[in-house]
Symmetry: C2
Subunit: 227 residues, 2 copies
Amino acid sequence: MSDSRAVVLLSGGLDSATVLAIALAEGYECHCLSFDYGQRHNTELDFATRLARTMGATSHRIAGIDIGGFGGSALTDHALHVPTQGVQSGIPVTYVPARNTVFLSYALGLAEVLDAADIFIGVNAVDYSGYPDCRPEFIAAFEAMANLATKAGIEGRSLHIRTPLIDLPKEAIIRRGIELGVDYSQTVSCYQLDAEGRACGRCDSCRIRAAGFEAAGVPDPTRYLGG
Amino acid sequence: MSDSRAVVLLSGGLDSATVLAIALAEGYECHCLSFDYGQRHNTELDFATRLARTMGATSHRIAGIDIGGFGGSALTDHALHVPTQGVQSGIPVTYVPARNTVFLSYALGLAEVLDAADIFIGVNAVDYSGYPDCRPEFIAAFEAMANLATKAGIEGRSLHIRTPLIDLPKEAIIRRGIELGVDYSQTVSCYQLDAEGRACGRCDSCRIRAAGFEAAGVPDPTRYLGG
């Protein structure tokens, strides 16, 4: 297992771009993994591909996965409505069942094939407190399971799930990314991005992102619809 | 969460067909899930589809997943050779990295959408002692993680990973299935099944299966190549 090789989950969004910058700054050889899961906002995959290339990742894979077909989330089920009235408490309708579990499981398989000891994921328990699979206790349980699931675990080498953003408010994430040279104009967060990569400005993800730039005192580089 | 609804992982093989029979006999409404992961032996998916229908499953889904593209296993990487010299100790080359983790993660997503409290999987720690993700400690860790990953877990309802075969030798699995009326001629186990569903008779999976029928004192209904 290489100490310097990492799998980085990269969505094309602000958080995962920051995570990639952090992993690169720590000296990891970064192998990025994105998912095409039938998300409404799959223009984000083009952004992920460009970010991986321009930021200096060693490889980038897009895995097609079928969880969208299970339904149950406004992000994949076009019959459900993406809320645009502001962030509510509780588990949002945009929660995709078992999404981070599935994403991390794929990352685990790739880490095993690449002999990588670290998996980086941009989960955040501050802004996404309503998502069960963004909580530190979920990540700890996944890591424990992962170390029993694999050859590496059997052989006594441990694998780590790295969540450098988990406790950070959005403005702190943005400040950290700017220090590391992340170009946030090349990232997208909107749940209902249009084909040109323009954001709606009204969904939860847009609201959290815009508030983050404001709190960080940084001009918001997001391209909004009609903007 | 319905106490009587279950997700059953169904490969088309002897073990998972027996698991489906057990779940049905326990009175569960069974929703089967199979995976197309680029396996050499994907004729097994036709067998899974037929088994789900003839045995009385309520639904059957085949999810296409990309782990085959990661390489690293003789079951998905055609450049690697499926061993036919007999079962060896250690982790076999037919081990697919993180396969059961990925399979169970999908099952978890489907269980959440269907509001099912049980996931049945035919892992076996006797014949597959070389696979890290067939061990009871892995299953227990996955269950603990799953209960933190989901809405149901947050709401205090628990999800169970059911592994009725985990401690059974192959002959005991076969005897149990026969009691329950499983038609094993409609199941396939071979790692290099041909397009007509005929088994090689020489890979580890064929050898374990054939020895099981012999030990159970039951005629082997498997269709072998050249047989």
